[in-house]
């Protein structure tokens, strides 16, 4: 009995923002969800996957966000309430389907969650996806806390059905990954079966239909604007002369800043942010002395503030990013907001950090885990190509293996987005004399590697494509993918063979090698470098985190130890293989930290003195 599913009305539970979104969807009677994982959205899908059977709904992992978007659009058009969730850049992948799903509109409630990542904790950019609501016309809700995330997720389905439009539910890392007290409401019975009532002159967007539907969309947006003006999610707090306009996570920092700075404040806290509630805003600013806009990333609300203050209050001073008082970079925190407000009001700001002695601290960046099969692959690549490193280029992709950028491997030269390693290799191979050696993981290959590979075969490129197959979606938390034999409901699923896909794309040179088998890997790389065409090496070994857990369960787990009598202190294991479980002691000895060792044995394989062996 999962409390998230069966908790009754009035239950209070500590929930992650992402878990709260699932509870909100359940309260609304959601019947279907499909998604591709991506931080900071992943726990929404993890939670759906965990509870789907218990809640009597369907959840599936899609190969990418575009397929997920198309899937849920059809589900909702057939009368079943549906949700898809993705990280901010995932919406770029889904954007083609998303933009036009607004023209066709929906029948049952359809909610698209975009989880943005200001400060790029786990992302390649920090784009502000609120702008997607502006270019698409999709109404948008922006929660500030887990409880609000739950309430908005629930309400989003109602708004969606009333307007017959998809809704964008936009979170950020500090909403999705914040845990707070969430109070449950009643849960509606899910509806999981529908029927698609055909209406080609609405759902088939040929130009004549699209022209008509765009007009309908603009009418719906006007209706939505009135809803935003009256929404319970848009509220005024306080009654001072200094006005603040805010939304999302920034609201939390603002609340504490105005209290700490003892400001006579009046806050317009927006949750229904697109269409901009212009009526409410114009009322709000009537008697203000000034307006300060507090929002992360782009000056999104700020621009509307300029537009909608012109009529009644053209004299109103507006402070924000355009006046240089607030940063456009990175996520906010209580200090950033307090400092920025102080600068607007001319108040003295004292840096709250304590004085401390300067001690040089070594960095602790994220690294490939001990035992990671990507490490042994990179070790082999370095060994084969180290002396020719200017003759090769290493396009990489999105996943744990991006950490190959760290020394000592330094195998990562170019990265744009999911799937870009093979796409960009098409360019490098044509105009340079450098051999592209592109890396991609199994899940990312299914997501967006296939098209680039076909392109390379078709255009007769010379490159090596290395598919690092650890048989999971490791970075985001080990979600299933089409190569794993398991689906989002937790059931057995057909395995899509990567090797068959590669061959089906027309690749003639393919090798599958165990990632821990260094001699075989080196041989494969040497041969691939001689091949004049597209070469694919599938370096295959299960993720070390999963494998060591399985070994522990089976009672076959053993760590490794260095025999100090045999060790010749060459540091190949600690500095060249650079497994984080091996450190050099103050006395200069290489030591395996058995707390961290996953028992992969690769260090024993690289040790020239045969000094490393299993602890039995």
């Amino acid at each position: 009995m999962d409390k998230l599913v069966h908790g009754e009305k009035g239950t209070k539970m500590m929930l992650l923002g992402n878990e709260a979104i699932v509870r909100g969807a359940l309260e609304a009677g959601i019947g279907f969800s499909a998604a591709y994982p991506g931080t900071p959205s992943s726990e929404i899908s993890d939670t759906f996957s965990r509870i789907a059977k218990d809640a009597g709904i369907h959840f599936e992992y899609s190969v990418n966000e575009k397929v997920a978007m198309e899937t849920v659009a059809a589900v909702a058009a057939s009368g079943v309430r549906a949700m898809t969730q993705m990280k901010h850049v995932g919406l770029n992948v889904a954007a083609d389907a998303f933009m036009t799903s607004v023209y066709t509109g929906t029948r049952a409630g359809l909610v698209v969650v975009t989880a943005d990542d200001p400060s790029m904790h786990s992302s390649q950019n920090e784009q502000d996806n609120r702008i997607y609501s502006k270019i698409s016309g999709v109404p948008m809700l922006e929660p500030s806390s887990p409880n609000e995330a739950k309430e908005m997720a629930r309400k989003a389905f109602e708004i969606s059905e009333e307007l017959e439009l998809p809704i964008l539910l936009r979170t950020t890392t500090r909403v999705s990954h914040v845990r707070g007290v969430v109070e449950f409401r009643e849960r509606k019975e899910p509806r999981t079966k529908g029927h698609f009532e055909k209406a080609p002159f609405r759902f088939v967007t040929i130009p004549s239909v699209a022209r008509k539907q765009h007009k309908i969309l603009l009418e719906k947006e006007e209706k939505a604007r009135k809803m935003a003006d009256e929404s319970e999610f848009n509220r005024i707090i306080g009654d001072g002369k200094i006005g603040f306009l805010t939304s999302g996570a920034a609201f939390n920092y603002l609340m504490e800043a105005v209290e700490d700075l003892h400001i006579d404040y009046k806050i317009l806290k927006l949750g229904f942010t697109h269409p901009f509630p212009s009526g409410l805003f114009r009322d709000f600013i009537k008697n203000l002395e000034m307006l300060i806009v507090v929002e992360e990333l782009e000056p999104y609300l700020e621009e509307y503030a300029y537009v909608y203050s012109r009529q009644d209050r053209p004299d109103l001073p507006i402070y924000g990013k355009y006046t240089g008082h607030f940063p456009r970079l990175y996520e906010y925190d209580p200090d950033v907001v307090e400092r920025s407000i102080s600068s607007v009001l001319g108040m003295e700001y004292r840096d709250p950090r304590p004085e401390r002695s300067e001690i040089a601290l070594p960095d602790r960046p994220p690294a490939l885990c001990p035992g990671c099969p990507h490490r042994s692959t990179y070790y082999a690549v370095r060994k084969v190509f180290m002396k020719d490193k200017d003759k090769v280029v290493y396009p990489t992709d999105i996943g744990c293996y991006t950490l190959g950028i760290q020394p000592p491997y330094e195998i990562a030269d170019y990265l744009l987005c999911m799937g870009s390693s093979i796409g960009s290799s098409n360019g490098f191979s044509e105009v340079t004399d450098q051999l592209p050696i592109a890396f991609i993981g199994d899940s990312t290959f299914f997501h967006s590697g296939v098209a680039g590979l076909i392109n390379a075969v078709y255009n007769q490129k010379r490159l090596i494509y290395v598919i690092l197959d650890n048989s999971t979606t490791a970075m985001t938390g080990h979600q299933p993918n089409p190569g794993m034999g398991k689906n989002g409901m937790g059931d057995i699923a057909p395995v899509v063979s990567i090797e068959d896909v590669v061959k089906g794309c027309g690749v003639k040179w393919v090798r599958t090698v165990d990632s821990y088998n260094l001699p075989e890997l080196e041989k494969a790389f040497k041969e691939a470098a001689e091949n004049d065409g597209v070469s694919v090496i599938i370096s295959k070994h299960p993720c070390a985190l999963l494998e060591s857990a399985a070994k522990k369960k089976a009672g076959t787990f053993h760590t490794y130890r260095i025999d100090q009598d045999k060790c010749i202190h060459c540091h190949v294991c600690s500095k060249h293989l650079a497994c984080p479980a091996i450190y050099i002691s103050d006395e200069g000895l290489d030591i395996i930290d058995e707390k961290q060792c996953t028992g992969c044995g690769v260090c024993a394989a690289v040790c020239p003195a045969k000094a490393i062996s299993e602890v039995k």
Binding site: M14, S42, P354, S357, L368, L403, M475
Partner: protein, 195 residues
């Protein structure tokens, strides 16, 4: 009332579990609580930070100089987190280092633990340091180090949560077969601070 607990360490040390137990104990005491945590790429052997804030709070992040407690699972990370401290902050830190790979490959040095503890004491007189892993081993398993830390936190007399309630929440959270070990780990952590 506002209580700010900043928790730091390295991925894999059980920091999120400890933070969740603390937050759930606060909820069980009928208090408002908000917590922020780190997922995704940052978790792969990097610094892990979590904040638990109890009482009249909105922000999930603790401002600089505003931590009432810094609970650190690793001495270097305790020192790195000092921006959050003030002259009254209670620092509770494990002293067994986890050496980052950057040091192993020759990019930087791990500062002596004693020097870092000295540096912390210049910021606040309330520094409690002990080997949490040794205490966890004494309790029965190194994995219980996070519960040792929770026991130590409960001994500070700063939480609006009774040590009994916290211990009850630990027992409620860990698997039944590890319950006794964790109860012992909690007590050892408690004694490490209370003496």
């Amino acid at each position: 009332m506002r209580i700010n607990i900043h928790i730091v360490g390295v991925g894999g040390q059980g920091i999120l579990t400890a933070s969740k137990i603390l937050a759930n104990a606060a909820l069980a005491e009928g208090l408002n609580v908000i917590m922020s945590e780190v997922h995704g790429m940052a978790q792969r052997g990097g610094v892990v930070e979590s904040s638990v804030r109890i009482g009249d709070v909105h922000s999930p992040i603790i401002g600089n100089g505003k931590a009432d407690v810094i609970l650190s699972f690793e001495p270097l990370e305790a020192y790195r987190a000092l921006d959050k401290a003030n002259g009254n902050t209670k620092i509770v830190t494990n002293i067994e280092p986890m050496v980052p790979f950057t040091v192993t490959i020759g990019e930087g040095q791990y500062p002596p633990v004693a020097m870092m503890l000295e540096g912390m004491k210049k910021v606040t007189p309330y520094v409690h340091s002990f080997d949490a892993f040794a205490l966890a081993r004494e309790a029965g398993t190194e994995k219980a180090a996070n519960v040792v830390m929770l026991g130590a936190l409960s001994a500070l007399d700063i939480l609006p949560i009774s040590p009994e309630k916290m211990k009850e929440m630990v027992g409620f959270t860990v698997p039944a077969k590890f319950r006794d070990v964790n109860m012992k780990a909690f007590d050892l952590g408690y004694k490490a601070v209370k003496g």
